[in-house]
Symmetry: none
Subunit: 416 residues, 2 copies
């Protein structure tokens, strides 16, 4: 019993897109304990798709397809599978109804080409697609052989996998021994430094601990094999506790926590509020904070003071200081934070001013130089200077700036 992942799409063969679907499905199969030994990528070509099916059925009995379910003529996955197993395609009134409704909701009319998406092999079950028009199928074309098809759009595929495929597979007995992971997240420490601190844990048999780094943060994935999530959590909990103790304030959260969500929870629990003044990040910090539903409870808003006239006009930054010290300076960062805090009447305020590059750097103020201001209760105001380095690109410097601002407030809120 094993599964094979088959990703269909010429765009994968041309390297136009990264195969994130294969990674997602691989992780999901591991979590359910379903063995999986091969992944295959093939283009939108019926003959080659059939050859790939021929090979896959000789070595796996759960075939998971992604891609090629759209309305256009080069979307051939479903009809090719039906053809391979010698089954006719039938139009599903249920799918027609669903697609029609979805188009109506958007004030649009279903086009004839969408009708193609309602054709499924005789005997197959519909794998509903709540967020798109291309449904998948779950089909047992012969005994001991199950076929799933998913659209290539990742968000649609994920939801269909979670809502329909996982319950189906669990019903078949999978997921009795599961691999359950928790991701511990750190900010302000490098991967090798953290790995050295927790080196004793990196060779544990169960749970295992593995470090990952990316976009300025480090994660430790703690994975346990156990009959249930509860049993896995019991194996993970003591290790997690010990790692947190070792890491101290560098640990900030787990799993889907973000610096913004963690700061948000701290503000919510203290009943305090936050505003932001952004120059080089241009709205990114506000975007991160408001990505969290319910952030209106503690986030009032802010000012994107990209041009100096906005720093002076809307935030009350001293024009002489802007002239003399420049917009990228500790004084301006502090005045921006005070300015937005006062005008929006919040407990705390963060400000960011810096040079995100690639242009605009000078000898004394190179690309990557960023000042972050933090204003708090009463007259409290501090600024912090960073050099995020010229090796990093604009997008990364902006990301590091916004995350570091959140991290500064997080540490401040935790140490009072």
């Amino acid at each position: 019993m094993s599964a094979e992942i088959i990703c269909v799409g010429t765009e994968l063969l041309l390297g136009d897109i990264l195969n994130g679907n294969a990674q997602y499905l691989a992780q999901q199969l591991a979590q359910l304990g379903i063995p999986h030994y091969h992944q295959t990528v093939v283009g939108d070509n019926p003959d080659r798709i059939k050859q790939v099916i021929e090979i896959a059925i000789s070595r796996a009995n759960i075939l998971i397809f992604t891609g090629g379910l759209g309305p256009t003529p080069d979307d051939l996955t479903c009809e090719t599978i039906a053809d391979f197993f010698g089954s006719p395609l039938v139009e599903s009134p249920e799918i027609i109804e669903d697609i029609t409704q979805k188009f109506a909701q958007r004030g649009r009319v279903m086009t004839p080409s969408n009708r193609k998406q309602a054709l499924i092999p005789q005997g197959a079950d519909i794998l509903p697609n709540p967020t798109g028009t291309a449904p998948g199928i779950i089909w047992e074309p012969r005994p001991d052989m199950t076929i799933f098809t998913f659209p290539g759009v990742p968000s649609e595929m994920h939801r269909m996998w979670q809502e329909t495929a996982v319950p189906f597979l669990k019903n078949q007995g999978w997921g009795q021994e599961i691999i359950y992971s928790r991701s511990l997240k750190f900010w302000g420490i490098g991967e090798s430094a953290l790995a050295e601190k927790v080196t004793a844990y990196l060779n544990l048999p169960n749970p295992t601990v593995a470090p990952y780094a990316g976009k300025g943060e480090v994660r430790l994935r703690v994975s346990a094999k156990a009959p249930s999530e509860v049993a896995a959590e019991a194996l993970i909990a003591p290790v997690e506790k010990q790692i947190k103790d070792i890491a101290g304030l560098d640990f900030y959260g787990v799993n889907h926590d973000s610096l913004a969500s963690v700061v948000g929870e701290l503000l919510r629990s203290s009943g305090e509020t936050l505003s932001v003044a952004e120059s080089c990040t241009g709205g990114l910090l506000g975007q991160m904070l408001t990505e969290i539903s319910g952030s209106s409870d503690y986030f009032w808003g802010g000012v994107i003071s990209y041009d100096n006239s906005v720093k002076a006009g809307l935030l009350g930054v001293n024009p002489e200081d802007l002239d003399k010290l420049g917009a990228v300076s500790d004084t301006v960062a502090e005045q921006m934070a005070i300015g937005v805090k006062t005008r929006l009447s919040t407990t705390w305020a963060l400000s960011i001013t810096g040079i995100a590059g690639p242009n605009g750097g000078t000898e004394t103020k190179p690309v990557g130089l960023v000042y972050i201001g933090l204003a708090g209760p009463g007259d409290e105001v501090t600024s912090f200077k960073y050099n995020f380095g010229t090796m990093r690109d604009r997008s990364f410097i902006r990301h590091l700036s916004a995350c570091t601002a959140l991290d500064l407030l997080r540490r401040r809120l935790l140490t009072r």
Copy 2:
């Protein structure tokens, strides 16, 4: 003549890493004009690797392996390939010398396990690894069959590919005919509607035209096969022109253009400026605009008026209207746009107010309801109402809101 990419590594089957190597090699093969119809991922298991080779040699004659060249016992790629073709492994004194030197440079001594990396099949050439200790091979184990092996570390693999594999393949006559693509981008039209409009182009032999959809936008990839980029562009140009004429204003840009960059160029060329007032997007629109280096030429900044007090206080929205009509209304959207335009003295202003969900929706104002305001020269102000639908998540609704705002300004700037 075609190539197959074979990625070896249990970490890929566990979903621990994204298969960026496959994407990189796919792009490189396309650039060289080497046909490539299959990608296979297999774990560090000699029997399964052999089966995969058996299949690959039946359908391709250039086999490109990545991964499994390291010093640990689970790195088996090279010896398994040699075994498959019945060739003995021989120790290369050249590699031993190279590894010894690299360890010495780092002040370390070569371990016995590194000796394994010096074993290559008899008759194979070394594919040098300038930045790591694991070299690859270029080997013709039989006539008309070429095998490349690369380590899985992307930076090492890229350099080895460029410095040794590409010259080798060009020497064999590849790269005389390349595949060159341009991506045409559209906003405001669905994939199936666009495909129907340009249906005559979807079956062209050269260039080919293929539609893709994602994150609210539709793309057409136009790919030409030709002896050079210039020749490919000449094949693409007339088709691109005709498609643009058919699509009209729904076409917004090519390749790396974004709605923000296109709007930016329009503003730059007219010498005009922009400010934003954001509620439910919380800074995302400003973030998109400032992601572009040089945006300070036309983007002044804005106000994140997340809380109603900020809409009234910093933007001058009428508190009675906020009370009576609610923050999510055409009147408030227009007042936000006028407010930020006046205060920041810009030519144009965009505002966004809506319900991004998942909470906060009511019967009359459901999740997904978004008003976008656009203020322009003189007293010009308009608002637009959208329902981005309850099927979409918070992040997607915010993304659609910000992109739609940019698209509205783009259309306005193009039609005066």
